[in-house]
Amino acid sequence: MEPQEEKPIIYTMENKPIVTCAGDQALFTSLYNSLAQQLPREPMEWRRSYGRAPKMIHLEANFVQFKEDLLPKEGNQALLTFPFLHMYWTDCCDTELYKASVKEDMLRWQSLLRAHGSVDWLIVLVESDGKKKNKTNILPRTSIMDKIRNDFCNKQSDRCVVLSDPLKDSSRAQESWNAFLTKLRTLLLMSFTKNLGRFEDDMRTLREKRTEPGWSFCDYFMVQEELAFVFEMLQQFEDALVQYDELDALFTQYVLNFGAGDGANWLGSFCAPVRSWNGLVLRRPIDMEKREQIQRGQASLLDLRSYLFSRQCTLLLFLQRPWEVTQRALELLHNCVQELRLLEVSVLQGALDCWVFLSCLEVLQRIEGCCDRAQLEANCSHTVGLWAYATEKLKSLGSLCGLVSTNGPNSEDLNRTVDLLAGLGTERPETASSLQSPYKKLKEALSSVETFEKHYLELSHAAMDMYRAIGRLRSARLLGKSLAEFYMRKGDPQRAEGFLQDSLRCYVQEGWALPVTHTRKQLAECQKQLGQTEEYLQTSALLAGDANLTDEERKHFCQEILNFARGASDTQAEKVVLSMSAFAQLRQLQFQPAAAVVHVGAALQVELHLCSLMPVPVQLEQLAASVHFSLERGGARGRRAGPGAGSGAGQDGPSGTVTFSGGAEGSLSPPPRATPPNLELYEIQDRSPSDHALNSAGVVCKNVHLLLRRRDSSTSLDTPGYGGGSAPVAMEEGAQMLKTHNVTLLPGNNSVLFTAPSGEPGTYTLRQLCATVGRVQFVLPHIYPIVQYEVYSQEPQLSVEPLTENLLAGLPQKVKFTVVTGHYNVKKGDALQLSNTDAMPILHSCSCPAQIYSSTGELVGESVLSIQSSEKVTSITLPLAPPYHSIEFQLEVLCQIPSAPPRPESERITNGQLRPRTSSRHRSNSGMASIDQKISIDCPWSIYSTLIALMFHIPFKAKHSLLSAGKRKYIQVCVQNVSEMNFHLVDQSLVERHPGASLELQSLNGKTKKLVYSQQSVYCLWEMKWASDPPACLQCVFSVSFSPDSGGESTYTPYRYEFQLEHVCTLYSVRADIVPLAGAEQCHTGALCGLEVCITRLAELSEAEKEDGGLTESDGLCTTKLMYEVVDNSSNWAVCGKSSGLVSMPVAASATHRLLKYLPHYATPAIQPDTDSCIESDNISLLEEQAETASIRSRGSLQSLGGAEQQRGLPMPRLEPFGSGQVFNSSLGRQVLVLPSTDHHVLEVNVT
């Protein structure tokens, strides 16, 4: 061979495509170096068949001297030794010489090529100026080139190249050199394409024959691998890898088909028993040893797989994809195990473990060899699988070979070890120098217990650290648990405990029941061996209540606890305190009575519903609940007064039942997870203390402290006893305890009854629950939600309430007396002393029953009261009653209607409204006047009197009015029933308070009794007659008897109404007429009318008047000055001229004064009256007034008709109105006919 470029390539095969060189060897040698250097310098695009993507490749070539035996023989498929291009070099520039020898040589060369069917050739003609100079005589007619082309390249002119002065440094030389290189590359590629294409076609044909009987996978393997080699040679690693992957897939498919029953003959050789399990070899580019085995068809499945993988690994590393190697390695290992199983290849037990272990380490070391440390650490996730797998395999090898037990391997184990080691063969030379080689490691690990432990721990910790580093904590814990198992088997529970605790914590946190149970069982064993009594018992308790275990196991663990509890009872050993949650669950708690509020000394029972989780009945020596007592009782009584007041913490519902959420799931398995507790919301209302008005309302969450607690730090309470004993539950020693002794808790629900202490008033809170079994105490450290009950003490109380809504005065009314005894014991002779008042006597009958009720409202007894009345005091003897009872009885009382004292002055218009006479009398909302009556009661339990106020309502309202008819006078009294009842009225009478002979009141009323319905009135009328002068002031008393219309006989009660009348006598009569003006017959609208007012004095002036000096002397006549005013309503009538004035009236009786006013009548279009109708469309408010000296009228109001004031004293005239009875309007109700002005229609006008 000619000199070749020696380039150090470490792993690749030192193969390059072969190019042969014929012709002038010396010439070629001179050019070889530059050729070999420059050929790969520029990439060429390689277009490929079958639609594969074109690639840029750098071509290299191995130039060898042409020999005939280099040409491939018929049927030889080898590609590696295939010459892809044949070159012929010549520098002949002499035609003669060419013809003489060179052509001959070329022809021979060509025919050889043709004989072998090779068409890839190139003739290179090197021209040099040096040579040409020597042959100057040569005419450049036809060049040698043309000749050669003529002779050889009949069609392919491109197969002939001229290379000009390649050794010179001229641009022309450079150009031709480049052209030559391009040509060379193109032709090489063409050859590749053609030859590889042909090869691939052949290969495919071969593959298609795979169903034929004689087909052998190994042969095919060799063929396709050849292709792979070529690609690798061309640096096309990707393509090379594809070839191997195809082979891999093909083989896998065959194995699967075999598994499916479709076996191929050739597979038989792979089914041979495995004799060697020395693992993968990845340190050589090609494991020729295995390759030869495959070639010979003697490879086992593991050999084939190993070889395939080693090739894939090599290529992947070329491709800089080391992490794919690890991933594929894991797949491969799993796959191989599966395939051997599928093919039912007989393998020595443990042999595969060896193979896997060795292979894992080999891959890892191979990767470590080509990556730096930082890269490795960053890619732990890719390698950790192999580490873990190796660990697992080593562990199983360890247990197989008896290296894990405490006693060390026995002879059988040793035999097995020897067999396994035998299958490893001898160490391969390439690793012999490495101290850490997988081979050495395995041998060492299997050699003794100690070395095994060392290697196993090393691997385990490495894998765990990696898992932790990449955050796969669960995987790390699983490994840790398996390490713990190892330690346990080694008899080293100390070291196992930590791993078990760690795993258990994880499983409990995430709520995986089965792993929890399993791990806990392991932990129990561990703790037992360690002698951690308390922890062991706690774990046992959890296991005994674990539904995932069988009954036997649960009973066993339960028995462990019981044994311990009963065990050393004689020695006063310290008690062991365990969490109750594993032992039993508090489900429900019930108070009896339900309100959980009792008075001092009363019986209060608490019923606990405990669900025992133990599989067997457990005899408890004592079950106790510690109680915290506090004196705080701010408003406690009021707060809890009604059942279900709700403000008590969590004690909702009237049943007095507290349900604990812990047991809600009802399953014995641990709750899936410490789920956040439910929101506990309560309504709050803030009322101002003074008027009870609502200030604000809202919702408050009562268990914020639980909801907002940090999750990760909450361990001990929510997840009790994952390890037991980590947070020892403290037992509070409370002074007060609820206790029961010797309770047997059956599996499942139990109910335990306690009697709660109620000795002192205050609030009692249940804090802890403690069950004692021998030396073991199960403690529930907190009872939540808070359970409280209250004990109160109460002062005796007396209350008096009316039976009906309103008490009516004047009638006997029933009143209920209630005595709440509180802490007072009603003794014999205890009596209520009621001070009598005249206004309200107590009506008592001889048999007045009293009922005695217990604090819960049950009727306890009934007895008859004895009531004694004396002048001042009514004494009611109470029946005997124990404390915290109530006595109820009813009494009848009567409130007299107070007679109204005479009013200081009469009101001109009576409306019956009574002025408040006493402070105790006022009007109630119902319109009834009411009276407050106070009773003072002396109670036996107190030195102070109790004042009770009762409010009575007066059923009637009366009003009076004075009516006149000329000089005759009438008194009308209206009695209105303002109560809700109906009454009979009888015997109405009106009398004068100071009867004089001159006055007579003549009744105009019927004699029969009258029925007054609720809210209705009765009117009574009397005429006043007098003989002499009527009194200036008249004081009258109206009285009537009434009784309720209840049917049956009734007693009548009087009702009195007093009033006073003044200015009874009529002084003046006023008459008003409207007359048409002179000439007109009728009044017309719009026309003036005359108003004639006639004031007549009806009575002589009284002496008093005379003396008043209001008289004026004029014209010798004694006159009184009156003021009048005409008030129109300014709609129909209007006064023309003065509407008021003064007139002087003679003092003599029957003196008359006439005045004339003109009243124009407006016919406003709006009130155009209907024709022919006589309508009172016009009203005139005609006010005629008389006045004395200076009399003034106010307008507009009919009521204030007359006003007169006596002028007393000269300086200022004084107006004084007349009393209602003093002026009689005789024109009241008079109508005036008014005709419309245009059409003489009649209009009627009312004069009122």
Partner: protein, 139 residues
Amino acid sequence: MAVCIAVIAKENYPLYIRSVPTENELKFHYTVHTSLDVVEEKISAVGKALVDQRELYLGLLYPTEDYKVYGYVTNSKVKFVIVVDSSNTSLRDNEIRSMFRKLHNSFTDVMCNPFYNPGDPIQSKAFDSMVSAMMVQAC
């Protein structure tokens, strides 16, 4: 088909887990629990890349010698894990996907049940029978 099917709550506790054959139940519990590591890894990796249109199917979580563990996570972070026997090579990725889809549909039905309290273990008979259909009867 599957040898173990598990539905795991967002908080990583099992809502449903069933396996055949039952004697290996514990082992499957461990396997499924451990697979959560990879699920979380994949979720966080996906979360970084594509938050919106992420693939619910997580693919092969990890192979063991005997089993292949596949994962799927719903948008509400409920995880489905299917364990398949390694020897069962006829199962393609597409079939696993369709199993997950069926599982998801059935799970949605469970969640739609007004009487089902989200977070409780799944006890639906319909779900159970659907799962049964996906599992091999003991080989």
